[in-house]
């Protein structure tokens, strides 16, 4: 399969568009009232300008390209101390804006290609991927452990390899292997069953989406799993009637929506297949009146926008042929794919829920700290950063925090434990499952 994944050298023209204005170092909106907040988890923790925001990352990229910077242990470490959250990207207005995460990851790809990266602690991700097809060193059969209660309750979930279904529920490795995050697939499948949706899972045959590999610069491993997945999606569409792929994992969702399109044949392969996040699917049903609630959940909550279901899904308009501004100009962005309102609407619709917002939300959401390989590479920092986000949530007076990403789920709960907070992170599906009644 042919892929259009850029090298750092191919991005050089973009890299030189950065003025070093530092606008990316803080989130700010004029309002009125004006709103200001720290936006870069790496900058908050490590402080030096090189570590902070795209201003710093682009300095690193420039240094590599002009031959000033070589892969020392410290430099490599600095390149990987970034959650690739895109918070910095959101502040930038110049022509390289659409490529900022790409530039960061291209540096990592270069590091991997030259034998320097990823970080030693992250190497196990790649090794695990090639040995187990998941980043958690989990044996295949463990992938379906979360389905046991369903079997026990005599409500088995369809194995899509054996039975056709309209919807493929792509579970993702974190939901399947990470014990504290298993509530996410459990609640998702429970809701789908209650709603009578025709869905199935790949079970032991599911393999990683490749998101983590891509984030840490291991493009080869990413391509291997992505190609296998794309071929499987096409086969399931043709042979098992799958028209929709749904996932509750923000990382998988982002990978399939944004990384897989770098495959030259993406449109051909995915023709006729819709990729949606679970909350989007549920919101559609809610709007059609097909999703009803019973009972109450008296809870004061706030909502954390995962980077991967938010600003990572921006669609950037680039003037490819120079007909609007000039060739390669960044023209504007479209947020229609970003899941900002959908989860909030569903959350607010739950009877008994009292909803309150944090200061840094939507496109300026403050990353939980777990992305970009940071949870594996720098677990302590990831949890420390999550504590900062939890504190922001607590400051609103909310008891609990809600999100739609198993990564954020795990990391924010770790952050909460770290500061001995009572605040828990729930996935939205976990709350919805409690108020969606069994069919009569």
């Amino acid at each position: 399969m042919k892929w259009e994944i850029s090298t750092l050298e191919e991005l050089e023209d973009k890299i030189w568009r950065c003025t070093a204005c530092g606008n990316c170092k803080t989130a700010y909106k004029f309002g009125p009232p004006p709103a200001f907040g720290e936006i870069c988890p790496a900058g908050v923790e490590f402080g030096f300008d090189g570590m902070m925001a795209s201003k710093g990352k682009i300095a690193f990229a420039r240094g590599i390209l002009d031959g000033e910077l070589e892969w020392t242990e410290d430099f490599l470490d600095a390149v990987y101390k970034c959650t690739v959250c895109g918070g910095c990207q959101n502040q930038c207005e110049l022509d390289h804006k659409p490529f900022i995460p790409e530039i960061i990851e291209a540096m990592r790809r270069k590091a991997v290609a030259e034998g320097a990266g990823p970080m030693p602690s992250q190497k196990k991700i790649s090794q695990s991927l090639s040995a187990y097809n998941n980043p958690y060193q989990g044996p295949r059969r463990v992938r379906t452990d979360w389905t046991r209660p369903f079997k026990k309750a005599k409500k088995p979930i369809k194995n899509i390899n054996k039975e056709p279904a309209d919807i493929l529920y792509y579970v993702g490795c974190t939901g399947a292997f990470n014990l504290p995050a298993r509530g996410v697939p459990t609640a998702t499948a429970s809701i789908f069953q209650k709603l009578g949706l025709d869905f199935g899972i790949l079970g032991e045959n599911e393999i990683c989406c490749g998101s983590t590999a891509m984030r840490i610069g291991d493009a080869e491993e990413f391509k291997r799993v992505a190609e296998a997945n794309l071929e499987m999606f096409q086969r399931l569409h043709e042979e098992k009637g799958v028209n929709t792929i749904v996932t509750s994992c923000a990382g998988c969702y982002r990978a399939i929506k944004k990384d897989y399109i770098l495959a030259a044949d993406y449109d051909k392969i995915m023709n006729g297949i819709r990729v949606v996040h679970t909350v989007d699917l549920l919101n559609g049903l809610f709007q059609e009146g097909k999703l009803k609630f019973s009972g109450e959940l008296p809870m004061k909550v706030t909502y954390h926008d995962p980077c991967h279901t938010g600003r990572h899904l921006n669609k950037f308009e680039i003037d490819e042929d120079g007909s609007k501004l000039w060739k390669g100009a960044y023209v504007g962005l479209n947020e229609e794919d970003c899941l900002y309102d959908v989860p909030r609407e569903l959350l607010k619709a739950i009877p008994g829920i009292e909803f309150t917002e944090m200061e840094r939300i939507r496109d300026n959401s403050y990353c939980c700290g777990g992305g970009g390989g940071v949870m594996t590479g720098y677990g302590d920092w990831a949890a420390k950063n999550a504590s900062r986000r939890i504190e922001e949530g607590m400051a609103t007076g909310a008891e609990h925090m809600v999100s739609i990403c198993p990564f954020c789920h795990y990391n924010l709960n770790e952050g909460s434990k770290r500061i001995k907070s009572d605040m828990q992170l729930y996935d939205l599906v976990e709350l919805l499952d409690q108020v969606i009644p069994e069919p009569e």
Binding site: K25, F36, F48, D49, A59
Partner: protein, 476 residues
């Protein structure tokens, strides 16, 4: 031997600020080696982040003892290479000294640390319906640095330079000694005024970080009247714009009275030079006025209408004009991310901006602009020029914002040459550049009275006997 000394210094720096806050790692130093401007990149030897006054004192004592240069830095957005170390040394990053120490909402002043950004201060002040004279620069840049660098902003038409808003300061001298200027020097807790004492704060304003490290700064802040009216006009030439700005400026009713050439009104500035369409005016002006009541606004508007009529009666080309929407937002909704992101300046050119930024009396604007236009067009650069009145008609600001393609060293050098040439024209007409890069400082000094240079050197020697503070920037 040399390596040993460097290690020893790094160890000592780490013992002052903590192990994670001082480094000699090249990738960290590299990120501080360049800025937006044409100034050639140069690496510091160490980067150090301080969080307390005591730490700053410790760093200065060490640097003074070892005769190591120290370059104060908050965000490095000065557009003059002022934080690029001429002679290596310690890059002192103060962004983590970012506390707003006091907000006196009755007496209208704030006391801040140097790392407080415009974005942070604006957000805090707004909660009390207060504001400051925000520059049209990045919201992430710092207010204290703007003030001590004679920065200017959206209220400068009314109150003058941001350095005139300083009410008190605390400074660590190059020797490590802690000093104060203004009321806080007499009464520890009084930060309201630098007057009527001798204005010792002048020893640290406009000195480009070459005389000491400001660690606390008192700043006057102002209420936000609720009614905004922006007066917008255009003219076909600079002479007619000068006539209008003089006339309206006399009434001192604008917070900001700025005119920009057609090239600067474009978002972004065209690069390379693009001729202006013949049927378009060459100059656009906006005057912002804030009023407490509709009646007050109407009275101000009446003055403006009269001025407009007077100018039309003179037979000038003045017309009421719609100012381009995005450009107007960029200059009136401050701090502004539009301008701060440099989108309207260098999005088209790519990567670089520099300016001949000067204080030039209003009656010199037209001859200087006309020469600048020739020079810039000759270098294939847009004459993206701004003129502004500060404090009524007292100061005139004249500036060309010059974007360039930083990837190309030839284009960068082309811009540098054009800018320095423009600067010389302005200096010869009596203008004075602000936040000057070394290239400008040299030109200033060439023209300076020997007594000025002598005094400058004496003061510098007195405060910084070993010439360690941002050495080389004054061009002496």
């Amino acid at each position: 031997m040399l390596a040993k000394r460097e290690d020893m210094i790094l160890d000592e720096l780490r013992s002052i600020v903590g192990k994670d806050n001082a480094t000699a790692a090249k990738h960290i130093r590299y990120a501080y080696s360049y800025d937006l401007s044409f100034v050639k990149p140069k690496l510091p030897d160490y980067v150090v982040m301080a969080t307390t006054v005591e730490q700053v004192q410790g760093i200065m004592k060490l640097a003074n003892r070892e005769k190591i240069p120290v370059v104060p830095f908050t965000a490095g957005t000065n557009i003059g290479g002022l934080c690029i170390p001429e002679r290596g040394g310690i890059l002192l990053d103060l962004k983590r000294m970012n506390k707003i120490l006091r907000l006196d909402t009755e007496s209208h002043y704030a006391v801040i640390e140097p790392g407080v950004s415009h974005a942070k201060l604006a957000t805090e002040l707004y909660k009390h319906n207060l504001r400051w004279s925000w520059p049209v620069g990045p919201p992430s840049a710092c207010s204290a640095s703007c003030a001590i660098s004679h920065g200017i902003g959206g209220l400068s038409g009314r109150y003058g330079l941001n350095s005139e808003e300083i009410t008190s300061m605390e400074v660590v001298l190059p020797t490590g000694e802690l000093v104060r200027a203004g009321s806080c020097a007499i009464q520890e807790d009084a930060w309201h005024s630098v007057l009527p004492l001798p204005q010792l704060d002048g020893l640290f304003k406009g000195w480009l970080g070459t005389t000491g490290v400001v660690t606390k700064l008192g700043l006057r802040v102002h209420p936000i009247p609720p009614v905004l009216k922006v007066f917008t006009v255009s003219t076909r030439n600079i002479e007619d714009m000068v006539s209008y700005v003089f006339n309206l400026g006399n009434y001192e009713i604008c917070d900001d009275l700025t005119a920009v050439s057609w090239w600067l009104a474009q978002v972004p500035i065209p690069y390379p030079y693009t001729p202006k369409p013949d049927d378009t005016p060459e100059w656009f002006c906006f005057g912002t006025t804030f009023s407490w009541t509709e009646k007050e606004k109407e009275a101000r508007e009446e003055i403006w209408q009269n001025v407009l009529k007077e100018e039309q009666n003179k037979g000038t080309s003045i017309e009421y004009a719609e100012y381009p929407e995005e450009a107007l937002r960029a200059r009136t909704q401050l701090p502004s991310q539009i301008v701060g992101s440099t989108k309207n300046y260098t999005k088209m050119a790519g990567g670089g901006i520099s300016w001949p930024g000067t204080f030039t009396p209003v009656n010199k604007w037209a001859p200087v602009y006309n020469k600048w236009k020739d020079i810039l067009i000759e270098h294939n650069l847009s004459p993206a020029v701004r003129v502004t009145n500060y404090r009524g008609v007292h100061y005139g600001m004249l500036r060309a914002m010059i974007p360039f393609n930083k990837k190309s060293s030839a284009e960068t050098e082309n811009a540098r040459k054009a800018i320095v040439e423009c600067l010389k024209v302005d200096l010869d007409a009596g203008g004075i550049p602000y936040k000057p890069p070394v290239d400008f400082a040299v030109e200033i000094n060439k023209r300076a009275h020997p007594g000025y240079l002598s005094l400058l050197k004496q003061v510098k020697k007195l405060l910084d006997p070993n010439d360690i503070m941002n050495p080389g920037k004054l061009g002496i």
